[in-house]
């Protein structure tokens, strides 16, 4: 009986233990649980579906190969997120050196967080657009962030990792996660304001 059913809940550590002994079915259960999330994460960081599939495969193949090195001190999911983030960043770096994609434009490099546009949004902004249109707006806004901000935003607010888990996955400090997240959130807020602001509230405020 699969480890998950014995306990009636998803028992990650039992599956990892079985997978380490070479139980492919147990490992596949881990794959099935996390592949969607890893693919989404990779797609957001690389901004490319083909790269995301490569990252997805590399992540689980490396995890399978190195299961013996997994100490179990962090969660398995955090461990594979770290692998996936590294693989995704490698893809980005490779693309940059290929010069096949434009380099990211540094939008806001100042240490201070600058808020430029302040306008009230509609009560339910998402209802102004179809689900497809909305998905596109949100995707484009995230794409406009620098990779360092984008990665933190994706891990914290989309994948819902804690600040500490995000710091661990990216190999950066907790204060760095916090400051990047703040800037990512504020930049996205500003980008989305163009789409979601309430009609008639056309006043820009500066501070």
């Amino acid at each position: 009986m699969p480890a998950t059913q014995e306990a009636g809940i998803f028992d990650e550590s039992a599956l990892v233990a079985k997978a380490r002994e070479g139980d492919l079915a147990a490992f596949n259960e881990l794959v099935n649980s996390y592949s969607r999330k890893i693919f989404r994460l990779a797609k957001h960081i690389t901004q490319n579906e083909e790269d995301a599939e490569d990252v997805l495969q590399e992540t689980f193949l490396k995890a399978f190969e190195h299961l013996g090195d997994f100490q179990g001190q962090s969660k398995f999911y955090t461990w594979i997120v770290r692998i996936a983030v590294n693989e995704s960043l490698m893809k980005l770096r490779k693309r940059k050196s290929d010069r096949s994609v434009p380099l990211d434009e540094p939008v806001d490099t100042g240490e201070d967080t600058v808020v430029r546009e302040i306008a009230v949004w509609d009560e339910n902004p998402e209802q102004k657009y179809s689900r497809e249109e909305l998905g596109q707006i949100l995707d484009e806004a995230v794409q406009g962030l620098r990779p360092a901000f984008r990665t933190v935003f994706v891990l914290r607010d989309i994948e819902e990792l804690s600040t500490e888990e995000t710091a661990e996955a990216l190999g950066i400090s907790v204060p760095a996660v916090k400051s990047r997240l703040l800037r990512a959130r504020l930049q996205l807020r500003e980008k989305l304001t163009r789409f979601f602001k309430r009609k008639g509230d056309d006043v820009f405020a500066y501070m």
Partner: protein, 89 residues
Amino acid sequence: MLTCKEFLQELNDYLDETGDIELRRRIESHITQCPNCFVILDTTKKTIQVYKGVLAQTLPQDVQARLLKAVERKCSEKKLRAGLPSIQP
């Protein structure tokens, strides 16, 4: 009272509900007196909500199938390596 700059510095902790009660009180007091910061708080909160609600990604079935196939291949290679050390270069 918090300045707008201090409000921005504390915004994340407020949104993530990790700040203490005193901080929440100070932020809530600031936004009742500063319409700009009220709007920033409200729209940043909505930004996070809208992302959480919409960006659910489905994994294409063929991508999942190729992944499982690749894992299976890796598993066979691993077993082969473990079982037949003599063929290793």
